[in-house]
Symmetry: C2
Subunit: 344 residues, 2 copies
């Protein structure tokens, strides 16, 4: 089959690889019908060292079950399934706590031997991981369903962990697909004021349609001042940080109000950061977030896509065949595309 491999920063190729096979009795193998490129794929696209064997790419997928392990009970050949970016048994203590990305039998497709930007995918812990899409679901809904694999529910995770609820004032840092998803999720959770910090007008326009009440294009000290101006000098209750770089972190503690929360879902591209009296401690600020527990939210979110309550698939503004995925990376890196859907 064909799969996407990255060999070094900027070097993405579609190559022939062996088909994945059932390795454990809890696996299924799916034929991937919908995949996409994630903002986090751009991190290795910027800095991956020479990797002669290539790194398998992609962690978001919808597909049709083609092979099934002996112990799989909940899935059948022919089922169309959404596959979250991390697999999980959905029964362990951490899954029961709602932190499926820390499943004791879990793992991440990102960098795994079988990843999603490919014609086929091996799904470990398939009973726990994959969620069936009802037969007969309209094709037009599939972009939105695909966002339940990662991007929309990552925005939702930020909002949930951040404690967004009715009446809360929220700022979202980042106008990428995760940031826009966080806007939509915050609106669904009842936030009344949603300030989107971003400067790409086509994106912030979509953010307004998703529920942003204000857009702040300024960054750094100017951006902080603008948010304080909007919030009567108080700052926001919740910051949803959907970038992952240090300036976004610094902006976060500049705009959060005393007792407020910074919820991060942008994968941090730093390990150390300010957390002392001058940044978090003095204002009793809470810092939370992490890899989204997509699986924990998926079954509740599915009907809201199917009935049209939310349409998070609008973050896809381009679609390309698998063979042109290198162009998808280029478009997203150049910010010429917000998010590219891939049809293997």
């Amino acid at each position: 089959m064909r799969a996407t491999l990255m060999y070094k920063a900027g070097d993405v190729r579609v190559v022939e690889v062996p088909d994945p096979e059932i390795e454990a009795p809890t696996d299924v193998v799916i034929r991937v019908t919908h995949a996409c490129v994630c903002g986090s794929d751009l991190h290795p696209y910027h800095d991956l060292e020479d990797t002669p064997e290539g790194r398998r790419m992609g962690h978001e997928a919808i597909g049709v079950v083609e092979q099934i392990g002996a112990d799989v009970e909940r899935l059948a050949i022919g089922d169309t399934v959404i596959v979250p970016f991390a697999w999980s048994d959905n029964t362990c203590v951490h899954c029961r706590d709602g932190i499926t990305t820390s499943c004791v039998h879990g793992g991440f497709f990102d960098g795994a031997p079988s990843a999603t930007q490919a014609e086929k995918l091996r799904v470990p812990q398939a009973d726990g991981t994959a969620v069936v899409v009802p037969a007969g679901t309209d094709e037009s809904l599939f972009p939105s369903l695909l966002t339940l694999s990662d991007v929309y529910l990552t925005g939702h995770h930020a909002a949930v962990r951040g404690g967004v609820e009715a009446g809360k004032t929220v700022a979202v840092i980042g106008d990428g697909a995760v940031g826009l998803s966080a806007v939509l999720a915050a609106a669904q959770l009842g936030a009344t004021t949603i300030i989107l910090m971003g400067r790409h007008e086509a994106r912030t326009d979509l953010g307004r349609e998703f529920g942003a009440t204000h857009v702040v294009a300024e960054r750094g000290e100017e951006g902080i001042a603008a948010v304080l101006e909007i919030t009567d000098g108080l700052g926001v209750h919740v910051v949803l940080e959907a970038v992952g770089h240090m300036p976004a972190y610094e902006q976060s503690y500049g705009i959060v109000r005393p007792g407020g929360t910074i919820s991060r879902v942008g994968v941090p591209q730093y390990e150390d950061a300010p957390v002392g009296f001058a940044s978090l401690f003095g204002k009793n600020v809470t810092l939370t977030g992490g890899p989204a527990a997509v699986r924990a939210y998926l079954e509740a979110a599915l009907p809201t896509v199917l009935d049209g309550t939310i349409d998070p698939g609008r973050v896809f503004d381009r679609e390309l065949p698998l063979g042109e995925i290198a162009e998808a990376y280029r478009l997203m890196d150049a910010r010429e595309a917000l998010k590219v859907l891939i049809r293997p």
Copy 2:
């Protein structure tokens, strides 16, 4: 009057200073009847630079109202009052949010022109700040009442911000007075497993009486291993970090379970710390805490001391007159005393 001043690290003296006076119509002046030395006073005791004019010390007090500003309505001359370590108007937006240490009219006695290790104290925003002790309260309860000025309610703040509740597994790092208070508070909030990390046996014995179910004397990697052993390899739901030094922070993220919370009330002696994928983010760990909103908890805690439900004053193991306060600092710094009550 006599007041305590620190002139440099290790140099604490009781000197004659002018009596405090009403400066704003919202002030009262109290005669301090009970004060004490805080673990956080030991930070300048270790590292205060030469300060020729001296730094006023002390931020915990009970006293009797002697003078009263024209706008004070809730207090009368002769009232015995508990004064939290920070003053606050108790009406502003942050006070209403329960973050009284961020009051827009607030401030900290620590380092202020009038501080509590003295015969008299000026209390700003007195209506909002001071809480009256019922007349006729038995003298034996005053050590416990004094802990409502800071230490017990700082432990309580850690537990509340950390989300301690029935069924949660909690670790407390630090066997100082704040750590032991955090143990007592966690037990009051219903934690079933409370692991106290400390190595001073007299203190950890008191911790057991306060509700600790386990004591771990080891530190660093050994301490982390011991906590994981107690928790079936999972780690704890909540870490209450009552030290403020980097090794305690590192220990915290080593023992917290996925999705768990680290709540800090030890004033951090660092600004930058690990918060990236390897420490907090990867496990969806929440970091919270800050200066305790003592005032927000004080009225609810008062009856629990008066009726004997809790006896947090047991953290005081010595009592000295104001004139001997330098010895109190020495005793606490040498860990010969847990916490010293001062009678001006």
